[in-house]
Assembly symmetry: C2
Homo-oligomer: 336 residues x 2
DNA sequence: ATTAGTGACTAATGCGCATTAGACGACCGG
DNA sequence: CCGGTCGTCTAATGCGCATTAGTCACTAAT
């Protein structure tokens, strides 16, 4: 800026005013300064900006996953891609970190905030009994929870929520209409909020319809565990006629396991994947799946965080209910 | 630090010396200051540190991909996970950005560097005729190229390279030994350096062995294009008896397409995937795949970048040659 | 003709840290 | 007894920017 000031024949303050759209300089000077800055290829130093109270121009994103669990998951990359799209417009950076577990994640938040590294964070995989919202509240670190519940909002946190309950209800309704009475739900990690939500909704829907042979089994989202659970479930007496998997990887693995066991899909068992991706079209039959726009999910979350940073107040916004894309893996229940 | 100084009864400079391990304070004072800092939960402001010449304590990572191409790709997440592991030890942040194409990527580098946002960057997907190395050299931005060639190193850039040539040679040798004489290589994006390297090596290896019916076809890495190309290749006269796919997604899609066409895997065609992941064990038969440790790839790259930031000079380091994991999709060529 | 007011600009300060240039006493050899 | 050296500490400066408090000339109003 000193250079610019010299070249333009004004003071540094004038340059600052000109470049930041502040009053105090004539339009003439402003334009001249702008051109000089352009010529010199000047960009404000984020460090200096941050130091003089403007914030870090960065938001944080922590993924708490054991390294080997980061598998064939299209969700996060798409989510991040959507987040970026919105952040980029405002020239906000995304500081990304992968850690082992939630307590590490909390430590990262503490550090980032203490170091003034971020202005806000995006939190994923909310859990039942989650320490993070309290921590973020305590720190006063602006945050939006991705995939939380619409109700349990903490004072300072925004939430972007997907209607798992509604989606589960519609899936159950569809299967019921096809004559399915015995349904197994191969769920994800037990601690996650959306896992519990889906399980609760399934139970509630089953109750409403008098379905007694409905159950949920939690897993670690892996293909191997999904296959194992599928085998166990199908080998029991009165096996289910429909299987709902909490992600695409498990659905594919499960469908494979079922086939190996001699169950034909969808003649003997219907399969639904709670996540749509190319994977679902890589097996025969193609898997019916709940399709949601993960990138849009990310965009919405990013927009909410920006609103928070701009001084807006916390709120909860929903994203569209996932839509069930019927493919070849769902059909009328045997004997119905 | 002012607070710490007050609490400890010393000057700010003394605090700085104490906390940074600089000489100029007694061990006694140092320890006292450390404890006070600990009690106060002090963390240095990265902004202030950066401003006083210490660098941003951050490295950048740009992924240039059209948003919809970010699919079921386990490679990047694992790579990033490995990178993080090493960066975290040094408390270096990872600034992550997704952009549309390489020219956007260059713009991001320019901006990051001008804004002093990063101390260095990790570059992926090097291309033939790539503008990035020149740009980075020109800017003087420390960088390591992930997946480059061992030779074409620019003065200032380190390279972490995988021995595609060696891997391709061993795959061809294996297939040759099984009696395969007609091989098709369903490659990735034409512009990418490693795509070209694999294609060149395949051609060379074919030449050495007098295999005349060997070819490579470039694609966009998608399952749909892989399936289409597979069909085109297999429906021709004298179809290949072995197919090499440049990633796991294509291999699975291609194997599926082959099966639909009435080709049995591996009786009629052998299939090799140049990327191992859970995907390869989700189809029947399981796919033989070149397995490499993507996380280790990332760790190595991160270590190289840190060495560069520490003032080390640029160099090229290799990672272990991928190993072919033989599963059910490769076998003796029909008629051999 | 004096004052109040306004627009355009400059000087000075602070953000939180690292670092350089001293200040001051203790210790040592001559 | 004195100059020199070392160890321990403090004061002062700068990093690049935003911002606040002036400064100055010029115009409108009394």
């Amino acid at each position: 800026m000193k250079d610019i000031a010299r070249h333009a024949g004004v003071s540094q303050s004038a340059v600052s005013f000109a470049l930041n759209g502040r009053p105090g300089v004539s339009e003439d000077t402003r334009e001249r300064v702008r051109r000089v800055a352009e010529d010199l290829g000047w960009r404000p130093s984020t460090a200096a900006r941050a130091l003089s109270g403007e914030g870090a121009a960065t938001v944080g994103f922590v993924l708490a996953r054991p390294a080997d669990t980061l598998g064939v998951d299209s969700f996060f990359l798409q989510l991040v891609s959507g987040i970026q799209e919105v952040l980029a417009e405002r020239h906000l950076g995304l500081l990304f970190q992968v850690v082992e577990d939630v307590s590490d994640e909390c430590a990262v938040y503490r550090r980032w905030w203490a170091e003034h590294r971020v202005d806000g964070v995006l939190v994923v995989d909310p859990r039942t009994d989650d320490p993070r919202p309290d921590l973020l509240d305590e720190l006063g670190l602006p945050a939006v929870v991705i995939g939380g519940a619409p109700d349990d909002r903490h004072p300072g946190l925004s939430t972007v929520w997907a209607d798992d309950a509604g989606a589960m209800a519609s899936v159950v309704e569809g299967l019921y209409a096809l004559g399915h009475r015995r349904i197994a739900h191969i769920a994800g990690l037990p601690g996650l909020a959306h896992t519990e939500r889906r399980i609760r909704t399934l139970r509630a829907e089953a109750g409403r319809r008098d379905l007694t042979e409905v159950r949920s089994v939690t897993t670690d989202y892996s293909d191997t565990e999904a296959a194992a659970v599928t085998r166990r479930v199908l080998e029991g007496a009165a096996p289910p006629t429909a299987l709902i998997y909490d992600n695409d990887v498990m659905a594919v693995a499960g469908a494979g396991a079922a086939t190996e066991l001699g169950f034909s899909v969808p003649a003997d068992v219907s399969v639904v994947s709670w996540e749509d991706s190319a994977l679902c079209r890589m097996v025969k039959p193609w898997l019916s799946a709940l399709s949601r726009d993960s990138a849009e999910f990310g965009r919405t979350a990013a927009r909410e965080l920006i609103a928070l940073l701009d001084g807006g107040s916390a709120r909860a916004v929903g994203v569209p209910v996932p839509r069930l894309v019927e493919r070849g893996s769902t059909g009328v229940a045997r004997g119905a």
